[in-house]
Assembly symmetry: C2
Homo-oligomer: 308 residues x 2
């Protein structure tokens, strides 16, 4: 059997990617959530995004949220930035790990940030330069990497073209987003293989959504390739803006449950994380799609009913 | 990359394992469901179980259901039988593919059929003989093969002991049930490897539940070992009796969606199956946990919203 990585680095994206696709919750709740997540053993948390408040009202209080959080030394907190203005706000707030999302699908990029993919790519060298000048790293997250809700199939070649320009622009690492859960294990294997072949020195992280149930299968496929960097959202927060009722991000507790059982260390205390997942579910006010939140850890047994 | 099987044989278990864990639905609805499933390209359907009506009221009308169904030549229909009486009823009804479930966990077996695992195993040779004398095949389904809701861990050795006695009893094939979704890919790989090493000539099928989100990851792990026989339930019918709100069987349309996208042929028309999944959801009267039912096939695109 293929050797799996001994440990993985999870980035918790519930406070940003998760909450961005839920009805807005109070600033204090966001602060609570980030602090509670910080106590579970998670070592990376995407805390906020510095986007225009008219574009994403859910993130309008990013500065207030971050001011409210007492950060832990054990956690690296990151922020998503859409453009130069957001990047400057993130640096001013003290973030040293930044992410920028560019969609491999031109239609999706235009819907998302009102610019074509090429225009976004043209601005990337400046963003990388500003991030580095400010002492921060910049990750390029390529979204719709396995398909687009508007365009359908996204050829691997288009993803590779975005990656090539990102690497040339000087980004520090790459991530690939399965925006609407269109990836399957063989597609994951192909894309990771091609990106590595072209850019063997670029660190790769993967961001799966469970929109069609394949989230953990894709994680398993990637683990077999040695990928050790995954995004996930506590309680599976976020849903899918294109399919009401469908799942969004893979649930962090489902990832932790599967990985730890397979001997892949995450550093996360699953029982503590499940408490936070319950808190997150209460904050958003509807049942979360996380199966492990419903069923509990696999070591949880039920009492045998009394004999008839 | 590991070569995957070119095709798999799916057994649809929604009408039996699925409906057994839902509130009872009318006989005519069961007939409708079986006939509709038969028209999707599925080639095997577990139609009913012949259990005592006091034990499982949901299956009390098994004879009426089966009398009502107009079977298709393209489909093999099977029945679950708990004991000699049930087996005789199934043969009398004309079934030629029968299944018997024995739990590797003694506690679970007692809760399920009021007998210990050893007692069930002791009766197996007679069941196999009766099935064969009646011109039918008998499959042994080993439940709680990766863990038990009452006992927790179930050692592989206990599963192998059940298998050994089943093979000695003359069963025609083996299946392994992940009764409450405690399997993960490495556990699947280990069990399949050990069973094959001990019984290289016994055909193996796998029956996964998605109770903790790992259902499709387990399918992918098994595919990589060349396993080509899986159970699944339309719409993910069934839930989990031990964890209210948690998923039960993996959803057939999620399996079909992932496999066909990976070039593994199932013979099933996904769009037709999704119509039946919607029908099944309506019959049980609550939202089904199937993600592909919510999100649609991966080739379904959404219209781009009008420009601002």
């Amino acid at each position: 059997m293929t050797e799996l990585p001994a440990r993985v680095s999870l980035r918790e994206v519930g406070p940003r990617d998760g909450l961005q696709n839920e009805d807005p919750i109070p600033t204090a709740a966001k602060v609570d959530l980030i602090e509670a997540l910080s106590a579970t053993g998670l070592r990376r948390i995407e805390a906020v995004s510095f986007v225009h408040p008219a574009a994403i009202p859910q993130m309008a209080d990013a500065d207030e949220v971050w001011t409210g959080v007492r950060p832990r030394d054990s956690v690296r907190y990151s922020a998503l930035v859409p453009n130069r203005r957001g990047l400057q706000r993130a640096l001013a707030a003290g973030f040293v790990d930044l992410e920028v999302v560019i969609s491999a699908s031109d239609t999706h990029n235009r819907e998302n940030i009102k610019r074509g993919t090429d225009e976004s790519l043209a601005g990337l060298p400046e963003l990388a330069e500003l991030a580095h000048a400010g002492g921060a790293t910049l990750q390029l997250i390529v979204s719709t990497a396995w398909g687009c809700p508007y365009e359908g199939e996204v050829p691997v070649e288009r993803v590779l073209r975005v990656v090539k320009q990102g690497v040339a622009a000087g980004v520090d690492s790459l991530a690939f987003g399965d925006t609407t859960g269109m990836a399957t294990p063989t597609r994951v294997t192909r894309l990771v293989g091609e990106v590595r072949a072209a850019h063997p020195d670029s660190p790769i992280g993967l961001h799966f959504h469970n929109t069609r149930g394949t989230g953990l299968a894709n994680v398993y496929a990637a683990l077999q390739l040695g990928v050790d960097d995954f995004d996930a959202a506590v309680a599976g927060l976020g849903g899918c803006p294109y399919a009401p009722g469908a799942s969004g991000n893979i649930a962090t507790e489902e990832v932790v449950s599967m990985l730890e059982d397979m001997g892949v260390e995450t550093g996360v205390d699953l029982e503590a994380l499940l408490e936070v997942a319950g808190m997150a579910e209460a904050y958003v006010g509807h049942p979360a799609p996380s199966q492990v939140l419903r069923a509990g850890p696999r070591w949880k047994t039920v009492p045998r009913p009394p004999a008839d």
